[in-house]
Subunit: 139 residues, 3 copies
């Protein structure tokens, strides 16, 4: 069994953003030389998500409006977590809706995707350097 | 390391439905001959989910009512994504709640399940042919 | 490919609780002897979650308040599932928000974690014995 590991670094200028990282994950897969197996992609921080969905700008806005409705940033005093001095209580909740990780099948050296699947990094507490882990195992 | 791949096809007659696919996944596992490893089952479309929960008809209705409350289909003009001509903006949100994929342990040639775990395909934008991917890796 | 399997048992005295199981998962990994691969940790019951987030007591309260808002326990008659005689309809919904499982990269014999990642068992219908499955595959 072969294994491959790489970290991708981000420094998103806004508090929240949704970034298509499919190209970077494909590069990792080529670099790994793995043809059959599984590819794990996960946020290494607990106020960010990795998820798979459509690369359509209207949808990214829909996600943002919806997540703000389900877990609003303001008022920051609403979250007990923010008593620690943080203001990112909402980000820990939004991340649970969108998920920490995706696991993608690797078949014939490619990400085994349906027609519209794209991998996104979702940032909910940006303006600092944060990481995504790519781990590929297989043959 | 062995690997196995199969697509399951669905054409759900309603917009939304929840279909128990545990029998089909068990058949894939037998066909694969894999005794120890991991089984990934994921929706290949971004308006559908694969999840694990109870096969109880009341619960399936509860999920449907709850998802409609969290991300209602109507009014379709509520979603920017629908300006592309689609009417499935809600389906992209519902799918994030229920998840894209499950990863199940394979032990002694069986899905290593607790007493009530069943695998479901959740369709949120049906009435057309869509796929689920089954990928099993191990020995 | 090596594989390792262990069940962790819980009997949470309250209906809901959030328990840090990172130490137990690290012990499993050491016991497995696996240095490179993937570690799957999943709830074996459908009214509980395994998730990764911060070990901060205010955040655990925030999660509990938020999940009660998104899927309240009362009135129990609100859920069709409870017509079966159960009162845990809400628990099946909360578990979908927080997720069934996590998949963690194993690198150099360690859980390959970012700075604040901790694994939690989230119980939504406690006061009875329930299990978590740990399955590690790799070399």
């Amino acid at each position: 069994m072969k294994s491959f590991r790489k970290e991708l670094w981000f420094n998103v200028p806004n508090r929240r953003d949704y970034i298509n990282i499919t190209t970077e994950i494909n590069e990792c897969l080529r670099e790994s030389g793995i043809k059959e197996g599984l590819c794990l992609v996960n946020a290494m921080h607990i106020t960010a998500s990795v998820y798979i969905n459509d690369n359509e700008s209207g949808l990214l806005q829909d996600y943002d409006v919806w997540l703000e409705k389900l877990a609003p940033h303001e008022p920051v005093s609403h979250y007990r977590h923010n008593r620690t001095g943080e203001d990112n209580g909402d980000a820990h909740l939004k991340r649970q809706i969108m998920g920490r990780e995706v696991v993608v099948a690797v078949t014939n050296g490619n990400l085994d995707f349906g027609p519209w699947e794209q991998i996104f990094y979702a940032e909910f507490d940006g303006r600092r350097r944060k990481r995504v882990l790519v781990k590929i195992v297989g043959d």
